[in-house]
Amino acid sequence: MAKARKTTPAGRGGKGKSGKMVMVIGLLCLVPFSLPTLLVMFVGLLPTFAAAFAERGVNRYAWICVGGLNFSGLAPWLFKLWFGHHTLDYAYDLVTNLTVLLMSYGAACAGWALYLGLPPLVGMLMAATAQRRAIGLLATQKKLVEKWGDAVKTPDEHL
């Protein structure tokens, strides 16, 4: 049992690492064919890469959240690259363009803001619901006592 417990995280870590390796190899394979795209994406999606590498824990949603908006901010320029001049020079112009960087990095910031701002908002909503639920539960308890008497109660120390 202990052995099984010990092996499970290692296995999970190994799988994650191999996935990343496949992704990196895939990207490297694309390098000869779309180097301009890769350059723009590499520079434009730096906040996403940073989020992906920096995030720890089992449920890693930050890089998806940041990445989604980050990519949305970068997408118009990528379209221009794909449907205009798909050259390394143009790509270089784009990555040195302040507007492009502001748009993509600003969108990434919006992603972070969404990722960090939504949970407290949901927490507040949950708390409000719990109060209302508590009132309902107390009413149910009261009905139980009315039907079964005080004997139905369990002392707090036995809970």
């Binding site: 989604g68 379209f79 969404l114 139980l144």
Partner: protein
């Protein structure tokens, strides 16, 4: 056995729809010491001379003998025509009434101390011996002893005074009214209530003693007290005490010597009397005297030459005996002066047993030792322990009389608890198979006494040893309940009278049911003593319901209502308050039908109980879960990890949606 009586308009009471008893017409000349006589009449044969004896309340009667003797026709017996319990207006309660055929010639001896007309010896056989002996034979056929044979309880059957009949013997315990003079030495030593049914030989002795008085026309010892009579009988023999110097015909003297023999084994039997009546002369019995010691044993200010006398003195001065036994004086006297080695050895053994007792039981052991020593000194005497003296088969009646009279019963219970009867059986000179069965009975009695719970204890012993004892519960004491069939109606009547405090099953009722009910009620009886709230009430209800069901008795509205008032603990056993309310509503309805079985089903239904229990457990679990949750909410310990996780997922999802929307829009813009 209920009398099923009715009361007439003129105050007469009718027994079994046939025999009219007139409380306003007492017949004092036919009274018994503990039963009053009244004029009675048979509705079917009004000319038949009858009278009724009404037993005094609290007196233990002999229903087994009544049952056996009913209708027995013998020239020497008053015919017991009918018997039963009936409402007795003068006492305002039920009483035991016995209807007898009325003797017409008056009592043979009016008072115990006064003189009366003697019976001529020449007529003794015809007028007295023949009829009375035939009565004794009839009694023996029914396995009943009379135990009330005395001249004051003999009546001339006809106005011509040509035949004597024996009077009543069933309105008191055996031998209860008997003067010591007409009782054997052993029976005379007993408490009147503890003489027991005895044997045919006891009746023969009383017959002989009565005859001795009848031929003399007087009481030969009118002023002597019981103590003196016993001492004289021990020292000189019964024949000498009862006949003395009276000159009697040889055959009369022979008859009296035979029947008054103090040794029961040598006393005349029925066969001897038959031979005597047929004219055969038997070898005369010589009086046997107690072995006398060379030197008297000084005790309590007197000197005693015989072991029996000494035993009597010991009983009178109980507390001083242990000392003289323990210091070896008695053993020495038995060995040297009385010269009975066996007695001396038995005394040594009794002392050894007592010496082995532990410190805290030393007093008890000393009392048992004294009782045992008395038994050793007088092997024919009754069981004597401290203040009590009774034959083994008379202890029950003695206990019943003591309880009825409200006197102390501690000595009797102590005697049973300390195995004194066992010591009695161990010290018998010869084997008697009856003693073995009695020993077993006493073992059972002890075990019941040791169990103090309801349905056992002294009350159980009381009813186990007395078939004729009515239930002595204060609730139904006046109803003279002898049979379990009469119990529920009596309790119902008690309820209607308003005696509804406490449970209808008290210690007496429980013990009465335990003994008299002929069906299996062991479980319900055992449950009566449970201490958990409501359990004993359930057992009470179930017990009453079983009796009602088994006997098919309905219409017990009073009792059902009484039980209904006690049902609150049973209702409280249910947790569901709605169920409780429903039961509270239904109980009065069922009580109005007088149906205890339905009441028991309602209050002790296993299905309902199980359902209630399970539902209650579910409710408890639900309450606890809610409490845990609300406490968490109160303490702000709401688990929002899932909420955060949800929010993170949502933000990721939104982000992806925005991304896809942007891509789609850009693609559309590019295409169109």
């Amino acid at each position: 056995m209920a009398g099923e009586q009715k009361s007439g308009a003129d105050g007469t009471v009718v027994l079994r729809d046939r025999y009219l008893v007139y409380p306003g017409k007492p017949l004092a000349d036919l009274n018994s010491p503990y039963a009053d006589a009244f004029h009675a009449e048979d509705k079917r044969d009004p000319k038949k001379p009858l009278f009724a004896l009404v037993a005094r309340p609290g007196m233990l009667v002999r229903t087994d003998s009544m049952r056996a003797l009913k209708g027995t026709d013998s020239p020497g017996l008053m015919v017991l025509v009918e018997w039963g319990t009936m409402d007795w207006p003068p006492a305002q309660r039920k009483a035991m009434v016995i209807i007898y055929e009325r003797p017409l010639g008056g009592r043979a001896m009016a008072t115990w101390t006064g003189d009366f007309r003697r019976v001529d010896e020449g007529e003794l056989g015809r007028k007295v011996i023949t009829p009375i002996f035939s009565a004794l034979k009839a009694l023996r056929t029914h396995n009943v002893t009379h135990r009330a044979i005395r001249p004051t309880n003999m009546f001339w059957a006809t106005p011509e005074r040509d035949r004597l009949v024996l009077g009543d013997c069933v309105t008191v315990p055996p031998g209860f009214d008997q003067p010591t003079l007409v009782e054997t030495i052993e029976s005379g030593m007993c408490h009147p209530a503890g003489r027991g049914p005895g044997t045919f030989a006891d009746d023969i002795y009383a017959f002989g003693a009565s005859l001795a008085l009848l031929v003399q026309g007087r009481n030969p010892a009118p002023t002597a007290d019981d103590e003196l009579i016993l001492r004289r009988k021990i020292l000189h023999g019964s024949f000498t005490v009862l006949v003395g110097e009276e000159r009697l015909l040889l055959q009369t003297s022979e008859f009296l010597r035979g029947t008054l023999c103090d040794d029961a084994h040598e006393r005349w039997t029925a066969e001897s009397i038959e031979l005597w009546l047929s004219g055969r002369r038997l070898s005369p019995l010589l009086a046997k005297f107690e072995k006398r010691a060379v030197r008297g044993f000084p005790f309590g200010g007197g000197e005693y030459l015989t072991a029996r006398e000494l035993a009597m003195a010991f009983v009178r001065n109980w507390d001083a005996v242990a000392q003289v036994v323990l210091d070896g004086r008695l053993e020495l006297w038995a060995k040297r002066s009385l010269d009975v080695k066996e007695t001396a050895e038995a005394i040594v053994a009794a002392v050894r047993d007592a010496a082995m007792a532990m410190n805290d039981k030393r007093n008890a052991a000393a009392d048992v030792m004294v009782a045992r020593v008395c038994m050793i000194l007088d092997g024919r005497a009754p069981i004597r322990y401290k203040g009590m003296a009774a034959m083994p088969d008379g202890i029950g009646a003695m206990l019943a009389m003591a309880v009825s009279a409200g006197t102390e019963v501690r000595t009797i219970t102590e005697c049973l608890m300390r195995d004194v009867p066992k010591a009695y059986f161990e010290t018998r000179e010869s084997y008697n198979p009856d003693n073995s069965s009695l020993d077993t009975i006493f073992r059972d009695l002890k075990s019941w006494l040791e169990r103090p719970n309801i349905g056992n204890g002294i009350e159980r012993v009381l009813y186990e040893t007395n078939d004729s004892l009515p239930c002595l519960s204060p609730l139904i004491r006046d109803d003279y309940v002898l049979d379990v069939r009469d119990l529920l109606p009596a309790l119902d009547a008690a309820a209607k009278r308003g005696a509804v405090k406490g449970s209808p099953i008290d210690r007496h009722v429980a013990a009465f049911i335990a003994v008299r009910a002929k069906f299996d009620i062991e479980r319900q009886l055992a449950d009566l003593s449970l201490t958990e709230p409501g359990r004993s009430t359930v057992a009470m209800l179930n017990l009453l319901a079983v009796i009602q069901w088994r006997l098919g008795q309905g219409g017990l509205q009073g009792l059902a209502a009484w039980v209904g008032t006690l049902a609150q603990p049973l209702i409280n056993n249910f947790h569901d308050r709605e169920r409780r309310a429903r039961l509270e509503k239904e109980i009065p309805k069922v009580a109005r039908d007088g149906n205890l079985v339905e009441l028991a089903r309602l209050l002790d239904s296993p299905e309902e109980k199980t359902l209630d229990h399970h539902e209650f457990q579910d409710a408890r679990a639900q309450w606890a879960e809610i409490r845990r949750e609300t406490r968490a909410i109160e303490e702000g310990r709401v688990d929002n990890r899932r909420a955060i996780q949800f929010a993170q997922r949502l933000s990721a999802l939104l982000s992806v949606i925005v991304c896809l929307a942007t891509l789609s829009l850009l693609l559309l813009a590019r295409l169109f």
